[in-house]
Symmetry: C2
Subunit: 441 residues, 2 copies
Amino acid sequence: MPSGNERKARVLKGFRDYLPEQMILRQRIIAIFRDIFERHGFEPLDTPALEYLDVLTGKAGENEKLMYRFADAGGRDVGLRYDLTVPLARVVAMHGNDLVLPFKRYHIAPVWRAENPQRGRFREFWQCDADIAGTASMLADAEVVAIMAEALLAVGLSNFTINISHRQLLAALGRAAGVPEDLAGVLYRSVDKLAKIGPDGVLREMTEAGVEPEAARRVLDMVGVSGDPDSLLADLADRLTGSPEGEAAIAELRELFRLLPAFGVPAGCYALDLTLARGLDYYTGPVFEATVTEPKVGSVGGAGRYNDLVGAFLGRPIPATGMSLGLERIIDVVREHNLLPAPPTVAQVAVVILPTTVAEGARIADELREAGLRVDLSLQPQKSIGDQLKHADRKGTPVAVIVGEAELAEGRVAVKNLRSGEQRSYDRVELAPTVAAIVAE
Amino acid sequence: MPSGNERKARVLKGFRDYLPEQMILRQRIIAIFRDIFERHGFEPLDTPALEYLDVLTGKAGENEKLMYRFADAGGRDVGLRYDLTVPLARVVAMHGNDLVLPFKRYHIAPVWRAENPQRGRFREFWQCDADIAGTASMLADAEVVAIMAEALLAVGLSNFTINISHRQLLAALGRAAGVPEDLAGVLYRSVDKLAKIGPDGVLREMTEAGVEPEAARRVLDMVGVSGDPDSLLADLADRLTGSPEGEAAIAELRELFRLLPAFGVPAGCYALDLTLARGLDYYTGPVFEATVTEPKVGSVGGAGRYNDLVGAFLGRPIPATGMSLGLERIIDVVREHNLLPAPPTVAQVAVVILPTTVAEGARIADELREAGLRVDLSLQPQKSIGDQLKHADRKGTPVAVIVGEAELAEGRVAVKNLRSGEQRSYDRVELAPTVAAIVAE
């Protein structure tokens, strides 16, 4: 091939290949999440990567600006999905007759956002979402929080907190503190940064945006509290007497905190944190965010109730709640702390062959597969046995079966444990169980 | 919500949603394929949906024209991948140091082509590819054909044939028949249509493109034969004596047909068919195509050897071979003939609750999950038991557990078999095994 024809092999900034060793761990974590979603009766759903642009635009605020959008060959304005929530709303609108509400669905798939790439942030990344559309019951929110806790525990994370707040409670507190209605958005965004920029930073942001300093200070006093949810909520109920919105929000949170133990969520895994507002404009009720405290990687997932989005296509509200796990960040933590040790290769056995034992080697490989083993038959009988063993070892395959001519004539096959280096010969009839036992060691 | 704000819920032509019932079957078939790939020691790989345009353009001929391409926000020319083979070539070029050659990888993922949608043909569709890069050995081709046969048998297809041909053999036959070298492409394309347009159609196409009528007739005589591969190949060897390319191709096919039985491929599953040329320009050796004969759905997968593509980025040839299963068409066949009966919902048990038994119901649901069951806890305790049972039945859930107040006081729970209608009450300690037994019926 003339070298002038070379194309340069490269990937776009913010995009990545997942090589086998990474994929093995990814698939394992995805399988764990899927299993938990399904054990909660959540149904799988998938939707197109590409959608009409006007279907994707509407409710997502900031994220919309980051959308990959273009005109297709037919002149249609299209975009790559930037989340899995807008497609859910579209599906509920289009397939209402085929779906039974409340509809519990999960969706594990890539989304695309043209963000500035940085550590742990990519332009193509996977979301693992579990949502419930069609009920306003706090039972749904409790189940979603329970799934989140189960999923994080199942991949080996133990030091995490699911912080819980409520959009309407925050709004009511703002009003009670004297923040004008039209500055509610400022309030959410500023308060959400409390851990990052500190109380002075929040005060500065709010006053710069036009909130009276006194009002800003009152808000901070109310949201900055921590402790037992029941007593905090009782205290807030006193302050918000006469605010129907505040009282309703407090009633919802009380119900939610009452349900979580019944849903099996361990007591140390969640907390009331009124500084949590979450960025997206579409939340309308309780909001959740899971933060890993050790190692300090920050948010690994979140969500909340959004009662207006799913019905947007239908022109009537369909209450919904859900959660999204950040796969890439969770994988980073699991990998860095070796929480789920995974092998570097799928192969459990390498079958090493000679030019004269190819057919018999293929047969032996087939027998081992039938015994449930993952078998990498060598494709290089022309190479020495030593080279073939080296190849298997370099890949990280734990066991090799050597199909030699002389042994085969006696009905025997050599088995080499590549971890210990030990090699012994076995009768062919013992082969599969022997290899299975070494693999399982 | 004002109805003037409604966006129209719709999907792009050639794109589809996969609702739960379809997804349950899809995921099952994908799991079967993945299991077979992994049992053959093939490693999982994933690559970005979006690539630099110049990475994607080059070798794929027709398919390139169908690419979704655009300039991203940074002004880069990009495209959505239209196959999984070009990304494999890029990965081998970029990650050569992390990969051990020969590299066996599988990749199950969506690709995008702006084709004219028709029955069974979509603009977004999934490919299930298994390829081996880094060896010219026919062992690799045999393994790939074996995987294809195993995969089709595993999803319940039995009436299929993997037709096998060889690009260089066809080229040598063309030369021997007197077709000029520069019309070899015409020959591949015309002969490939034999089953569709008949011998007269093929003759017409070839002569119209400039092939001498006598030469065209000689080609048809040679490729139109059928029967035992060994004797056909012996006959062709006689005709091609003195053509080094023809002799090498025949030697490869002989080796391949000798290996297939050792790889466990059932005798009736494959045949030599010299009319098979396959469209893509990049094949260089044996080519395969699996055709289902009953029901007559045509090709469900194919592939072949392509020794130039994978090395294209490196400027040196890296021999490779592989196969691709057409997921959508396979699913169509499996569904139409109910080859893999799948439930309509993932949930195996619905837990029906009253306003007073919510917490206990959540606990029971958790216990059933711990016993390995997939449980759909009702989120509508305010509805009647009858309505909740109807909801579960409409979804297709086979069993319901009814958590009533009076029974609970006696430590008992009612279990209703929604298939038979039978209802009985059980002691709570017997609950999980009882439900598991009914589900397993």
